[in-house]
């Protein structure tokens, strides 16, 4: 122990993407403070898209980097997942930028503190106020996510967790429509999220107590030096994993998912569902593989149970839902279960499969929520399933896209979801986890039922007399739909390049 603080030697180029996004987020806050109201939105849009795209370009140029710099590991998985997070962020930013579908403006309340339905809110709306803070908030969340996938010690992982989560709590509560639901979602997300953070940090402390270090490779070394279970390591591991599984939305830590997905503005839900999963699975993989890869026999049984429960509970509860956003929330729980199957494999194939699955799932989710944001009634979204009856007659293109995403979730061949399921199950069989695959197949069958039900509703049910209208979106949402459809089809039909990519990037540095 020396008392002198030595500045770590940092490879700035390797972490440049995170720096770009983070600095831009700070600039965004300054813009909120100093720029006049009228051009603010334009400036924020340019900053947001500019930062995300620039970060992505820099990331691509760093594709070959494999380096541990300070507390960050810039290796294959973190590069791929960071790239995926950036892409998902770019697409979700387009969704958030949409202003044409809601007659009152964008999807966000003009001032989140105004009481719903109050005079104040009405005045703000008519005077064209907008909440442009959503853009820097989103960028902060993106920084947190990128950091989360690269964090190589528990403290940085915790900080990343908080940077990622806090903006999301805010974003969840900003819906212009159905404000109370949205605020309830935000509060619920915040309280439960705070709990899980507490679990995480407490667990990290235990692990530090056991190993005397917070770095993940250090914990692995301490484990191999002191084999055998001690209560400290047992509790510490359990608490940290609970914190991570909470973010993933795995059963039994999934209670927040349906309410938050339903209450948040659809654009935020899409971002949350797609990107948070990527980041959280990245962190979970790194924690389990780098720190506890050697002790896999001890934790695999516990995660088996969680994966099985997640797949089954998610699929079964989704059947009973009558609100499409809630249904997709339970579906995302089930999908998390399928991804956990790949996590449990603890082999390079598993890492590659999880990354592929996250990409497939992420874009299908973005597309599905984009569709949801377009089906509207009385100004707001028509999310009750009965409203979707006969959508195929009213708007065949939209209904076909939605069907494609549903088929991808269900894992039908020639869609990205199929290849995802295939690779995940393959990794599990390679790891001799055959029962897990059988449960996975059964859960897929159950899940197929409610995905198909949406298609049936849209195509084979007569539309109601006063049904919802399908709004013609601006170029933003149109692009989101086009990108999601293209990715879902391309990853399903020609997945080779992406499979190659994830295969080359399936090893964690330690």
């Amino acid at each position: 122990m020396d008392d002198v603080l030595i500045a770590p030697d940092i490879d700035y180029l390797a972490v440049a993407p995170m720096i770009i996004v983070g600095v831009t987020a700070v600039v965004g806050v300054l813009v909120e403070a100093f720029a006049p109201r009228r051009p603010r939105r334009g400036i924020q849009l340019v900053l947001t898209f500019g930062a995300l795209i620039a970060a992505f370009v820099v990331l691509i140029s760093q594709a070959g980097t494999r380096v541990i710099t300070g507390s960050l590991a810039i290796d294959g998985p973190s590069l791929v997942l960071q790239g995926l997070i950036l892409l998902i962020a770019i697409v979700s930013a387009m969704l958030m930028a949409e202003r044409r579908v809601d007659p009152a403006g964008d999807a966000f309340s003009p001032r989140a503190s105004a009481l719903p339905g109050s005079e104040e809110e009405r005045v703000l709306s008519t005077r064209g106020f907008m909440q442009t803070e959503v853009w820097p908030l989103m960028l902060f969340a993106v920084v947190g996510m990128m950091l989360f996938t690269a964090a190589n010690d528990l403290l940085v992982m915790f900080i990343a967790l908080e940077i990622m989560s806090l903006p999301l709590y805010l974003l969840a509560g900003m819906s212009r429509r159905r404000r109370l639901l949205s605020q309830e979602a935000a509060l619920k997300y915040f309280i439960l999220g705070a709990f899980s953070s507490a679990f995480f940090i407490f667990g990290a402390a235990m692990l530090y107590g056991f190993s005397g270090t917070i770095s993940l490779p250090g914990i692995a070394d301490a484990l191999s030096a002191n084999p055998g279970q001690t209560p400290l390591i047992f509790i510490g591991f359990g608490l940290v994993v609970i914190g991570l599984l909470f973010k993933v939305g795995a059963v039994p830590f999934h209670q927040w998912v349906p309410d938050v997905y339903q209450g948040s503005p659809s654009a935020v839900t899409a971002f949350m569902a797609a990107a948070v999963k990527v980041a959280a699975f990245g962190a979970l993989l790194r924690f389990l593989y780098v720190a506890f890869g050697g002790a896999r026999w001890d934790w695999q049984p516990a995660l088996w149970i969680i994966a099985i429960a997640t797949m089954l509970v998610g699929s079964i509860l989704a059947i009973t839902q009558t609100d499409i956003k809630r249904m997709l929330a339970y579906s995302s729980i089930a999908q998390a279960g399928f991804i956990l199957v790949g996590v449990i494999a603890v082999n390079p194939e598993g890492v590659a499969a999880v990354m592929f699955y996250l990409a497939a799932y992420g874009f299908a989710t973005l597309g599905a929520f984009a569709v949801i944001s377009l089906v509207r009634q009385d100004g707001g979204e028509a999310t009750h399933l009965s409203n979707w009856a006969g959508l195929g007659k009213r708007s065949p293109v939209l209904a076909l896209s939605m069907s494609l995403f549903m088929l991808s979730f269900a894992g039908i061949p020639l869609t990205s979801g199929f290849i995802g399921k295939f690779t995940v199950f393959e990794a599990a069989i390679l790891a001799d986890a055959v029962p897990l695959v059988i449960v996975g197949v059964i859960a897929s069958i159950i899940a197929a039922f409610f995905y198909v039900r949406v298609i049936v509703l849209m195509f084979f049910t007569e539309p109601a007399e006063v049904g919802p209208t399908v709004v013609l979106p601006s170029v933003f949402t149109t692009l989101v739909l086009a990108i999601s459809v293209a990715v879902t089809v391309i990853l399903g039909v020609f997945p080779q390049p992406v499979l190659d990519l994830v295969e080359q990037a399936n090893v964690f540095l330690r």
Partner: protein, 517 residues
């Protein structure tokens, strides 16, 4: 052999047709039908041209083979090729599609849904049917197998009867269940091949002869078997079929039962037996029991039906029992009989459902047998076709289905004489319900609803309908009296399959009745 990509071309033509048809404006319903017919006829012509070049004496298991890399990371390639079995089934599909298009000329109108959509879906289905029989990469087969669900799902769910949504969903769920079990086995097979060959592959010929311990083999067998048994459908996985058949249009029912369901039995011959020989022998008694139960159960339930579509759905289930029986007794003659019977059953099912469709079109869409009677008095030619279709379905000697059924029973008798005896009872029941059906519809008094002089008198067949039925009648007779060309094509493929099983036909044992192996 020329390097012309026959199979890909034949498969792509209907797909192009579907795109062209979909691009037409909505008002051009007639042109859509005509174009669909033209494209399906081109595909049929190409299929015939290919079949003429098929060489039955070549020792390679597959001819007209093509292969291109698709997803090398997962050992998946686009590989197609046909053996004799695949060839006759592609021929069946290529024949039935134009027939169905012609017969279903007025099946859909704009009120029900887009006319061009119906015919485009049929063409898409044709592409997938050709693909599923031609694939020599197991993964490619699986993709076609699952993708087929989509057009047929829309064909039933969009253009069928009042309960169509229910029937379509039931069909889809059953098929998805089977498909996902097959997927699990497929991945398992891939992993096994990876462990043994160094690199995972889906290439069919590489998978044949893969050495697996019997537990693995039996598990993987079950995944495939579920999918095929649901598709075929065997007892007790059949309950989706009557609903689907009743609610779909006659044309859809023909393609569904006539061709699609054959994919199940085709899959058993092509994939189950060669890849899992040990497991196939292990499970054979179970499958045979299911088949025999299906034969008798289907026939008995058919006896009690008052709906002609349901009646023939149960009848088909009974006949699928025969096909499965022929496959799992592991004799050359039984399996050849099964393949021949698949084709014959496709033709006879088509005839039965199309004639039933013609009747229904004249009677306001009712498929209840009790709504009919005395057709032979008011529409003698139509009644004649009805009789022919009925006789073909009960396997009258001289018709193709008789030959198939007879060969299956012969092959069964060599191994399990008592099973053959019991299965023969099915033929008796079949005769009972088929003849009773004919009696109730074609003879007796003419109901007032369509008696001559009523508002909508029953009319006799039109030229279009005769044109649609004529090829079926002709083929049924030709295959029945002169099956040699077909059997010459089928037999080498059957022998090859039997070799992979390590089974040799038992010598004829005339002196010891009951003396199986």
């Amino acid at each position: 052999m020329s390097n012309f990509p026959w199979l890909t071309t034949i498969g792509v033509i209907p797909l192009i047709g579907a795109v062209v048809v979909m691009l037409l404006p909505r008002s051009k319903g007639l042109l859509a039908k005509q174009l669909a017919l033209v494209f399906s006829l081109i595909a049929l012509g190409m299929t015939i041209a290919m079949a003429l070049q098929f060489d039955a004496d070549v020792t390679d298991p597959f001819q007209f083979s093509e292969s291109a890399s698709w997803i090398p990371a997962l050992g998946i390639s686009y590989s197609v090729g046909v053996d004799g079995i695949g060839l006759v089934l592609i021929g069946l599909a290529a024949t039935l599609v134009p027939v169905v298009i012609l017969a279903g000329w007025h099946d859909v109108d704009e009120e029900l849904g887009s006319v061009k959509g119906y015919f485009a879906l049929i063409l898409v289905l044709q592409t997938l049917m050709i693909g599923v029989f031609a694939a020599t990469d197991v993964f490619l087969f699986y993709v076609f197998f699952e993708a087929m669900l989509v057009p047929i799902y829309f064909l039933i769910g969009r253009y069928g009867g009042p309960q169509r949504a229910y029937a379509a969903v039931k069909f889809l769920i059953y098929s998805l269940v089977g498909g996902l079990f097959m997927l699990a086995s497929l991945i398992g097979l891939y992993v096994v091949s990876g462990r043994q060959l160094g690199e995972g592959t889906f290439d069919f010929l590489s998978l044949v002869g893969l050495e697996m311990d019997s537990t693995t083999q039996r598990l993987l067998f079950l995944g495939f078997f579920f999918a095929f048994a649901i598709k075929a459908p065997l007892f007790p996985f059949h309950t989706w079929l009557p609903d689907a058949a009743k609610e779909s249009t006659p044309g859809t029912a023909v393609l569904l039962i006539g061709v699609l369901d054959k994919v199940g039995t085709f899959g058993m011959i092509r994939y189950l037996l060669p890849i899992f020989p040990e497991a196939s022998q292990f499970y054979a008694p179970v499958v045979i029991a299911m088949a025999v139960i299906g034969i008798l159960y289907g026939a008995l339930v058919a006896l009690g039906q008052n709906d002609m579509k349901r009646l023939f759905a149960y009848s088909s289930m009974s006949h699928f029992g025969f096909i499965a029986l022929g496959i799992f007794v592991f004799t050359n003659i039984g399996m050849s009989g099964s393949v021949l019977y698949m084709v014959a059953h496709g033709l006879s099912t088509a005839a039965v459902f199309l004639v039933a469709g013609f009747l229904m079109a004249r009677r306001g869409g009712s498929s209840l047998i009790s709504d009919y009677g005395g057709i032979s008095k008011v529409a003698p030619v139509l009644a004649g076709f009805l009789l022919f279709a009925a006789l073909s379905s009960l396997a009258l000697p001289g018709l193709a289905s008789f030959l198939g059924e007879f060969m299956v029973l012969l092959g069964t008798f060599q191994i399990y004489p008592w099973v053959a005896v019991v299965a023969t009872l099915g033929i008796v029941f079949t005769a009972a319900y088929v003849l009773r059906f004919y009696q109730r519809t074609a003879t007796g008094p003419v109901p007032a609803a369509y008696a001559p002089g009523s508002a909508h008198p029953m009319t006799d067949v039109k030229a279009r309908e005769v044109t649609a039925l004529a090829p079926l009648v002709l083929l049924t007779i030709v295959l029945g009296v002169f099956p040699t060309p077909a059997l010459d094509v089928i037999n080498p493929a059957v022998e090859w399959t039997q070799q992979t099983l390590g089974v040799v036909d038992p010598p004829p044992q005339i002196d010891t009745p009951g003396g199986g192996q």
